[in-house]
């Protein structure tokens, strides 16, 4: 009996100790959990504050970045504008001087050539009359002493024939000089301050006339063949002086590109295409026309295409290119005439510049380039 009581007491005591230990453990776990809960609240608040700070920082940094990017773009745009303005100024000055030089030259040549050209007809008439008179003399006075004549009768026959040919050659030469002078005057168009309706082909032909010496054969290549595929274009309203400048720039570039090929006419492969420039014009519709100038030079590398219209960008050797030709051409076509200028180039095949022009642009700032 007593043993049973003792065992029961021991068991109870053990249970109590176990329960106490369990209780102690539970109390400890409870303390830790409560503390962790408190910590969790504190951490959450800290985390929310940290997130708020991070969001604000990133938003402000992003705003600053955007502002700085916008400012960079603005500066880039201002720089581009400045470069264009500078290019325009340089080109204006250059073209103005060149125009005045050309106009002055044309004027100075015009007067003497008019004396020559205007009197050649009279000279021809006089020569014909004199030769006819001499012929009559010879027929009606054959008894004249041959010793008194300063030339032999055979020579007289030759002189009579050659005089006519010389005068014809002089007539051709004088006509050509008159054409050149006329082209120079038309090209410079200094007298035009406003846009005028006119024929684009005249401007292209004038430019070709001025560049004729560069198209001829030289020691590096044969003559450049110029192929004209002109459609019957309607007249368009434009600043002809400005457009002539564009045609001139594009034609000079085409010739320079062909010259870059280092073509040797002595080693010329007959199967190889000779150097050529093709000029094509067409009417797109009632409101637009298109002019393409193509060369079969070496072509333009892809990575350079995007920079071609940048002011002062040139691939030509120092001293040979200013880097302004295409920039100014772009300015004249796009800004002044509300047209477009595009480039299509393939390495080894050549380059085509295509100009699209409205027949009647909405406005022109000025034709004074």
């Amino acid at each position: 009996m007593n043993d049973n009581v003792s065992v029961k007491a021991t068991v109870t005591q053990t249970s109590i100790e176990e329960l106490e230990a369990r209780l102690k453990t539970l109390e400890r776990e409870n303390r830790i959990l409560q503390k962790q809960l408190q910590r969790s609240y504190a951490d959450r608040e800290q985390l929310e504050a940290a997130t708020d700070r991070k969001e604000t920082l990133l938003r402000n940094a992003l705003d600053e970045l955007q502002a700085s990017q916008a400012s960079l773009e603005e500066r880039q745009a201002a720089l581009n504008k400045l470069q264009h303005a500078q290019a325009q100024l340089v080109q204006t000055e250059k073209m103005s001087s060149l125009g005045q030089l050309v106009a002055g030259l044309a004027h100075e040549i015009n007067n003497p050539i008019n004396f020559i050209y205007g009197n050649l007809k009279h000279l021809q008439d006089y020569a014909e009359d004199l030769l006819e008179t001499l012929k009559v003399y010879r027929q009606h006075a054959p008894e004249i002493d041959q010793q008194l004549l300063p030339i032999e009768p055979d020579e007289l026959e030759f002189i009579a024939q050659d005089t006519v040919q010389i005068l014809q050659s002089m007539q051709i030469g004088a006509t050509r000089i008159c054409d050149i002078v006329s082209s120079l005057r038309n090209f410079s168009r200094l007298d035009e301050a406003k846009s005028k309706e006119g024929n684009i082909h005249d401007g292209i032909d004038n430019s070709l006339m001025i560049l004729r010496y560069r198209l001829e054969q030289n020691d590096r290549r044969p003559a450049i063949r110029v192929i004209k595929n002109y459609e019957d274009l309607p007249p368009i309203e434009c600043c002809h002086g400005q457009l002539n400048q564009v045609f001139m720039n594009l034609l000079i570039n085409a010739i320079d590109a062909i010259d870059l090929n280092g073509y040797d006419p002595k080693d010329c492969d007959p199967s190889e295409q000779p150097p050529q420039i093709e000029i094509q014009t067409r009417t797109i519709d009632q409101s637009e026309i298109q002019i393409s100038i193509s060369d079969n030079g070496p072509g333009i590398p892809e990575e350079l295409k995007s920079r071609l219209f940048d002011p002062f960008f040139t691939t030509k050797p120092i001293g040979q290119g200013t880097g302004l030709g295409l920039a100014i051409s772009h300015e004249i076509i796009v800004q002044q005439h509300q047209g477009a200028i595009a480039i299509d180039s393939e390495l080894g095949r050549g380059t085509t510049f295509t100009i699209t022009l409205p027949r009647y642009p909405t406005s022109y700032p000025s034709c004074n380039v």
Binding site: R31, K35, A42, D43, Q46, R53, T56, N60
Partner: protein, 388 residues
């Protein structure tokens, strides 16, 4: 022989927690008597009670310690609101504690006192390295560490972290044997056959525009670009006060590399100036910095790998101490435990380890051979073992 043991408890009851910690240590010590220790405690414990319990168990223990922003150990990993104790037993390594008080009043006197106490009858040349857990809020850490470096005659590498108070920036505590102190500089000096390797890395990167410090007195910056310093932060943080997780990158004249200076968080925005944990020179170029979790964890890994690489190949690491910036914990949030996991993954074998989240880290700079350097936003690793 060097033996290192660690105990760690997250019981919020101070008595229960230290009992638990001491029991863990006793088990590992297996009868050996420790000569020195480091105690790390969260802010809500009854420190007197804890220190007395330790003293009762190990009378005369050369103990230093301090409050933290989170505790790390090989026993529990990362914890907050916990107590962790590391004890050192050795007959070949000699460790002694010292403390300098009222450091904000006279940092030189405090440093000299602490070093003199910790040296005892040893010569400075015998000291291998020092560990310190100084006050962070009352004095400029850079000035305090300069005083410490002077007291150690620039010969002794110093490791440690500034004591913290769980991001409250009100008051931190330092411990020396049974004393609970504030505004103090506790130091442990290690001499004898002890080898060590260390690493330090950050992960913070500059963001936004730069400014020039135009008016500064030690660690208080009054003006940046001739405008109140607070405006430099407000550009990015709006009206929120400057925060520790966005320290300034400081570029000194002609230098392309930077060091970090974190704000102490103790200023009122209306005052316009900002107090930092370390000094900034006038004329320095500053830039705000920020970090994300991945960059922080990568830097932790780098720090540990540096320490392993620099540890003498003739010896084996027997313990590790980590000092990580509280801003890292703030950004890592619930991922903070991963920082210790990264540390563990780098070790060849499990080591007794302990560390804490600090208000500023202290470690030599390997690149410049400087023995005492103050860092912000870094993870400092100290590996140690008996020298062979």
């Amino acid at each position: 022989m060097l033996k290192v043991v660690v105990g760690h408890s997250n019981d919020p009851d101070s008595g229960e927690a230290i009992t638990d910690v001491l029991a863990q240590c006793q088990d590992q010590l297996a009868g050996d008597l420790p000569q020195a220790g480091i105690l790390l405690a969260a802010v809500d414990f009854e420190y007197d009670l804890v220190l007395e319990a330790i003293e009762r168990t190990y009378p005369g223990l050369e103990l230093i310690g301090g409050t933290t922003d989170g505790e790390i150990s090989s026993v529990m990993g990362f914890e907050q609101d916990s107590i962790s104790l590391m004890l050192f037993c050795s007959d070949t390594v000699h460790i002694r504690a010292g403390i300098g008080k009222q450091v904000s009043h006279n940092e030189t006197a405090a440093a000299n006192t602490a070093i003199a106490m910790a040296l005892g009858d040893r010569q400075l040349d015998e000291i291998q390295f020092a560990i310190t857990l100084p006050e962070s809020l009352t004095a400029s850490a850079v000035v305090v560490l300069q005083a410490l470096e002077q007291a150690l005659q620039g010969r002794v590498p110093v490791f440690g972290g500034l004591t913290a108070d769980q991001w409250r920036f009100k008051q931190t505590h330092q411990f020396y044997k049974t004393e609970v102190c504030t505004d103090s500089l506790p130091v442990l000096l290690f001499s004898g056959a002890i080898a060590f390797g260390y690493g330090v890395a950050s992960g913070w990167q500059p963001i936004g525009k730069t400014g020039t410090v135009t008016k500064v007195t030690n660690n208080i910056v009054y003006e940046i670009d001739n405008r109140p310093a607070i405006e430099f932060y407000q550009t990015y943080l709006g009206n929120r006060p400057p925060s520790l997780e966005y320290p300034l990158a400081v570029y000194e004249a002609g230098n392309t590399s930077f060091y970090l200076r974190a704000t102490s968080g103790s200023d009122r925005p209306e005052d316009g100036y900002i107090t930092f944990f370390g000094d900034l020179p006038e004329g320095a170029i500053v830039q705000l910095t920020e970090a994300n979790r991945n960059e922080i964890l990568s830097a932790s890994e780098l720090s540990i790998k540096q320490a392993i690489e620099r540890f003498p190949s003739t010896s084996t690491p027997q313990g590790a101490l980590y000092f990580s910036c509280c801003a890292r914990r703030q950004i890592l949030g619930s991922h903070t435990k991963e920082e210790y996991s990264v540390a563990q993954a780098c070790q060849e074998q499990p080591l007794p380890e302990m560390g804490f989240y600090t208000n500023g880290e202290i470690s030599p700079l390997f690149e410049t051979q400087e023995r005492v350097c103050f860092h912000n936003e870094t993870f400092v690793t100290l590996l140690f073992g008996e020298a062979v």
